[in-house]
Amino acid sequence: MSGPSWQMRLFRHPHAKIAAIPMILTTLVVFVGGTAWTVVYSFTNSKLLPRLKFVGFQQYDRLWSNSRWQVSIENLMLYGVFALVFTIAIGFLLAVLLDQKIRFEDTFRTVMLYPFALSFIVTGLVWQWILNPEFGVQSMVRALGWEDFVFNPLYDPDIVMFGLLIAGLWQGTGFVMCIMLAGLRGVDEDIWKAARVDGIPTWKTYLFIVVPMMRPVFITTLVIVASGIIKLYDLVVAQTSGGPGIASQVPAMYVYDYMFTAQNLGQGLAASTMMLLSVLIVLIPWAYLEFGGRKHG
């Protein structure tokens, strides 16, 4: 071809290549290697220790006939859709509000951001408490006179995922708000001026001009929020332990419980593989949009 030979390409900019070694090793050894290891051993009947005794798709058959796994997947999808939409929508709306040349912007921002500094364990613990019917919100409202007031999300299997959502949004929206606010500040003043001259209402300017301009911001946010949702674990353990019953189980809990508590590594790894597969399904279109769709100069 027209480019330099492969030896020349390999040894051009040696420092750049050396600098990239940690990244290359991490991706190949840890992420690719670890994933391959996971997939291979998911086809074995490993118990506590990994061993290569293959049993075909047996682990997967069992996985998909397990009601806890099915509930976990449904829960993650439900939580994922709501968390994604609400985190981004609320984050954006708050950012817009803070962007209105208001007083005490720093204070409001800090108030919204500080939960992000706390771990999910802490978040789950505090919200478990606030949502507890005996001494939380429900008892307070009842004490104010509404005797029949019922607000008991953590003990109602139908809405327990929303109890988790309340806590998850509390922890994560502030950070997204900051990203969005930063994005809004990056929009050129001239665009606002032009929109005002044309008499376009503010909300329309936001929705049809500013939001499309902030595409990269939304993509970064999407990656950060979505990767957090897939990993959802600590919050559930701290807040509901997957209960009531199995109503708030999530896949990461299934993986961990079967790998270590149940000492059935093969089963846990089969569940891991399914999670990784679903990530791939989401990620491949993204990678295509990011790299395939337009060529970098």
Binding site: K101, G186, D188
Partner: protein, 299 residues
């Protein structure tokens, strides 16, 4: 760079009158929302100042009748982890010891990654970046076992450096994403001019890129301090008791399954453990937004 410099003022239309309906709506909404964010902290602080009898009476929202600082003392210096009754103080220095090298190493590696990905693209670099982003979606629990094997083979299982390596690996995806975005917002002309002047990979990195990237470094430091300080799983799986971070004691205090739950001590311990990242946030709020702007806006 343009966006970094133009961050000074808020945008949007100018407010006209102080008590316009619009203002009342904006502030009203913000105050109401703030209540949602403040409430848990309020509950935590109030509970940590109450005695156990008062807590049993109910109402988590009320302020304490008899203020006591005993729970704080107990959480910091007296709460027991098995036989060691010296509270959270035991793990504080361990956490610092883990935090400092982990933050430095993970940020150093990720910033070089971002720089190489933007300015020194090589064949397949985007493939590696995509895998890295894929890595950010992998639940930590899934990787627990492979990492044990990797560390064992490297001979650093159970050491501080093993843990630092783990934090560097798992911090890499998101940090690399942020650095890559930031560096791609720096005009390429600067880089090209330096190349013409004969500067090499490290020369450009240290003399041009680093001095221009304070905001994104602030973001990276904040994210890593929070993440690593709050980490429990890696700290406890990849080290040994004399290196256990503070979160292990927090877990021990909070999760003592048998015995009476001392909510006031739990809450005090929770706040004490969260103090370091909280202070970092309160101090650096403005820088954070500025840095985020630079790291997230261009993609």
């Amino acid at each position: 760079m343009a966006n970094v410099q133009s961050l000074q003022g808020p945008r949007g239309t100018k407010p006209r009158r102080r008590f316009s309906g619009r203002n009342i709506m904006i502030y009203g909404t913000l105050l109401f929302v703030s209540l949602y964010y403040i409430l848990p902290l309020w509950v935590m602080v109030m509970t940590s100042l109450k005695g156990m009898p008062e807590i049993r009476l109910g109402n988590v929202f009320g302020p304490p009748v008899d203020i006591t600082f005993q729970p704080w003392v107990k959480a910091w210096a007296e709460a027991c982890t098995g036989l060691n009754c010296d509270g959270l103080s035991r793990g504080f220095w361990n956490s610092v010891q883990i935090l400092v090298p982990s933050v430095i190493l993970s940020i150093a590696v990720a910033s070089v990654n971002g720089y190489a990905l933007v300015n020194w693209r090589f064949k397949g670099s985007e493939v590696f970046f995509t895998i890295l982003i894929f890595g950010s979606f992998i639940p930590y629990q899934v990787m627990l076992y492979p990492i044990v094997i990797i560390l064992r083979e490297m001979g650093i299982y159970g050491t501080l450096w093993g843990l630092v390596l783990v934090h560097t690996i798992f911090g890499m995806p998101i940090l690399t994403l942020l650095f890559r975005n930031y560096f791609s917002s720096i005009p390429e002309e600067l880089f090209k001019a330096a190349r013409v002047d004969g500067a090499g990979f490290w020369g450009i990195y240290f003399r041009i890129m680093l001095p221009m990237s304070l905001p994104i470094f602030v973001v990276a430091v904040i994210l890593q301090v929070t993440g690593i300080w709050n980490d429990f799983l890696f700290g406890v799986v990849y080290t040994k008791p004399d290196l256990y971070p503070m979160t292990v004691q927090l877990n021990n205090i909070v999760n003592s399954v048998q015995g009476v739950k001392e909510y006031n001590v739990n809450m005090a311990a929770t706040i004490l453990t969260g103090l370091v990242p909280l202070i970092v946030y309160f101090v650096s709020g403005k820088l954070f937004v500025r840095g985020i702007a630079a790291g997230a806006v261009k993609g």
